[in-house]
């Protein structure tokens, strides 16, 4: 009797002991050597893992910074200048201003201007509406108006008005969740120091696009001609801005005959303080 109890206990204890020893040895010899600098940098970052810096989450960004392959300390958009400052101090390099990003919607076909081809009664989401012949608007490129982007925005920076999405720039931190969510892919991030946005995504020829929406880009090329830096090019029947060249002069918005180039102050919290 006693022998049975002892042998059972010895068996379980023995296996447990062996497992424990193996685990301890493994943890000792195969521990991932974490760089102290990398850990310090990781502490500076907000830990949201949004990917706005272009790396796989905060860990990824901290890693390339510590290795020295990434020199820019201002890539963390949600963290802004405060984080850039901390990273610069940890690395001992010069502080770099963060170029904040802001989301913009490339569609201005609200219900006063866009032709409706049907009355959609199904599931009230953009992805649902898109499945049925590309949504209720005649234009299948533009905003579907069911607010998937507004629903996913963690900062309530997107609101729906007259059937299309609008971004409230001061609230937007440029995380890019809406960009990934929009089924038509009409939201993008631009540097918030820029003012001009092509508010149309229709790639059809001018006459056809105009029949579907009176605000649609007709690819006339006026903006292309007036742009002093050559930042605008009309490709595939749609004007496109190269923000590396754009100087935010606003001339394109003035000449656009259909008014699909919007010019407005999109600076978030950041540029506002610089101006002051």
């Amino acid at each position: 009797m006693l022998e049975a109890i002892l042998s059972a206990a010895a068996c379980v204890a023995g296996i447990g002991l062996i497992c424990a020893v193996v685990l301890v040895v493994a943890a000792k010899f195969m521990a991932v050597r974490e760089n102290a600098l990398e850990r310090a940098l990781r502490e500076c970052l907000p830990g949201v893992n949004c990917g706005a810096c272009g790396y796989t989450g905060c860990d990824g960004y901290a890693k390339v910074l510590a290795e020295g392959t990434e020199k820019q300390t201002n890539l963390c958009i949600p963290g802004g200048d405060a984080v850039s400052q901390q990273i610069s101090e940890a690395l001992g390099v010069e502080f770099q201003n963060t170029v904040e990003q802001v989301a913009v919607v490339h569609c201005c076909g609200d219900c006063d201007h866009a032709v409706q081809k049907a009355d959609y009664m199904g599931v009230q989401t953009c992805s649902g509406a898109r499945m049925l012949y590309g949504g209720q608007q005649a234009c299948t490129y533009g905003c579907l108006g069911k607010g998937d982007c507004a629903a996913i925005c963690p900062y309530d920076a997107i609101y729906m008005e007259k059937g299309i999405a609008h971004v409230c720039a001061p609230k937007c931190v440029g995380c890019g969740l809406c960009v990934k969510t929009c089924p038509n892919g009409i939201i993008s991030l631009i540097p918030d120091t820029k003012r001009e946005v092509i508010a149309c995504s229709n790639e059809e020829r001018g006459a056809r696009a105009r029949k579907k929406c009176t605000n649609a880009c007709i690819a006339c090329g006026k903006c292309e001609k007036i742009c002093p830096t050559g930042a605008i090019a009309v490709e595939e029947n749609l004007a496109r801005i190269d923000y590396d060249k754009c100087i935010a002069c606003g001339k394109c918005a003035q000449v656009c005959p259909v008014g699909c180039i919007l010019s407005a102050d999109r600076s978030g919290r950041h540029r506002f303080s610089e101006v002051q």
Partner: protein, 198 residues
């Protein structure tokens, strides 16, 4: 020999599907099947751990517990071994295969004490596989069956997302109802292998 192994694999995968016929491992089945990507990740992780667990528990049962007449310690010893094994695998993956660790990593601790994994280890004994390779084939079949169920159900759930069930059925109720219908479909496999053998 190969024919026997194939029969074991397909029996475990389709006829005795752990999720849909034996109702083991329902928690990850309902919890992680919302997106196809994570469903595949979970399915692969479970398959991997089932194979590892069998590789460790079958020899220990056969050469240690049976030899000392300690079969009644099965459950506790198996839990101990599987938990330690999964931890060890995680450490090794983290060190040598960080990419795989990132994709499988979050699922591994979740399945340390999963009943489907323990179920495979115990069923290998109760179903009386005499050869090590037979037990491994059974584990592979169970894992693939789990993966299959996860992938199928992820597809079903994507359809449910855009469907409009009555208000009282929204969320978990309609998920459980559709899971039962998928399970019903799998009962169609009952007896298939027996007929093949005739």
């Amino acid at each position: 020999m190969i024919r026997d192994l194939m029969i074991i694999i397909f029996t475990a995968m389709l006829v005795n599907n752990y999720v849909l016929v034996k109702f083991l491992g329902i928690c990850p089945f309902l919890g992680v099947s919302k997106k196809l990507h994570s469903a595949v990740g979970m399915g692969l992780a479970v398959t991997f751990v089932m194979l590892l667990a069998t590789a460790a528990t079958w020899p220990i049962h056969t050469y240690l517990l049976t030899a000392f007449n300690l079969e009644y310690l099965q459950t506790i010893v198996f839990i101990l071994i599987i938990a330690a094994l999964v931890q060890l695998v995680e450490i090794i993956l983290k060190r040598y295969l960080p990419a795989l660790h990132r994709s499988l990593g979050i699922y591994l601790p979740l399945i340390t004490t999963n009943c489907a994994v323990l179920g495979v280890a115990k069923n290998n004994i109760t179903e009386g596989y005499e050869l090590f390779i037979e037990a491994m084939a059974n584990a592979l079949g169970c894992g693939l069956g789990f993966l299959l169920a996860m992938v199928l159900f992820a597809g079903v759930r994507m359809r449910i997302e855009t469907a409009k069930p009555p208000k009282c059925f929204e969320g978990m109720p309609i998920t459980l109802v559709s899971a039962s219908i998928v399970a019903l479909a799998f009962y169609g496999f009952a007896g298939v292998i027996d007929n093949m053998l005739l």
